[in-house]
């Protein structure tokens, strides 16, 4: 289905950051990313990496949770979703 660009509305997604990822954002616990409508988790990661600097070191397959569940790269993000960037985990 073709999507007309003029109907697309950017979506602001707040991404929660934890542990070492907070250092990417100067110590902040979240960061806001503006994405095109129906953007996926992969698009979000590409957008973050494109910020350059420390962000460029973010693995292209970093784990992302959407609404508190691990989400695959093709998961579509909607306004209001709870999105979190999950650094490699080290519990136990």
């Amino acid at each position: 289905m073709a999507v007309r660009a003029d109907r697309d509305r950017p979506v602001d997604i707040t991404v929660l950051l934890f542990a070492a990822h907070r250092e990417l954002a100067g110590g902040r616990a979240d960061t806001v990313v503006t994405l095109p409508e129906r953007a996926t988790v992969d698009v979000l990661l590409a957008e973050l990496r494109a910020r350059g600097g420390e962000w460029a070191s973010l693995p292209s397959r970093a784990a992302v949770a959407v609404n508190r569940r691990y989400a695959s790269g093709d998961t579509v993000l909607y306004e209001g979703d709870e999105v979190a960037l999950i650094p490699p985990v080290a519990g136990g």
Partner: protein, 142 residues
Amino acid sequence: MTRESIDPGAVLARVGRPGDGAVAFFAGVVRNENEGRAVSGMEYEGYDEMAREELAAIVAEAAERAGGGRIAAVHRLGSLAVGEVSVAIAVSAPHRAEAFDAARYIIEQIKKRLPVWKREHYLDRDAEWLEGHLPVVEAERG
């Protein structure tokens, strides 16, 4: 998920039924050294809400493996001193094989997927986030 000190006895008291002949218990404890550096303590950070849900999912999966055994699993967050319990798992089941298997499954899954991170504090006052495991996203996991 708790910020209070973990009492192993209280975790053990939550399992066991008249038909269970085996109880397996595992505790993770903060060590005093890592890779040759003297450690003074460990700070655990978690994505609280997700960690709670993920731990419950892991326990449910383990219960299925243990054929309906009883399970209690607690993970600590916050600042821990050397020797403090960071995670405690108790499983009761009719026989030892299921109890050991379920306890092992829970700790391995915690290490693979629980959204928790630890920052190690060293005696020389330096601190570092420890390398972790990249969670594998399985599409079929619902």
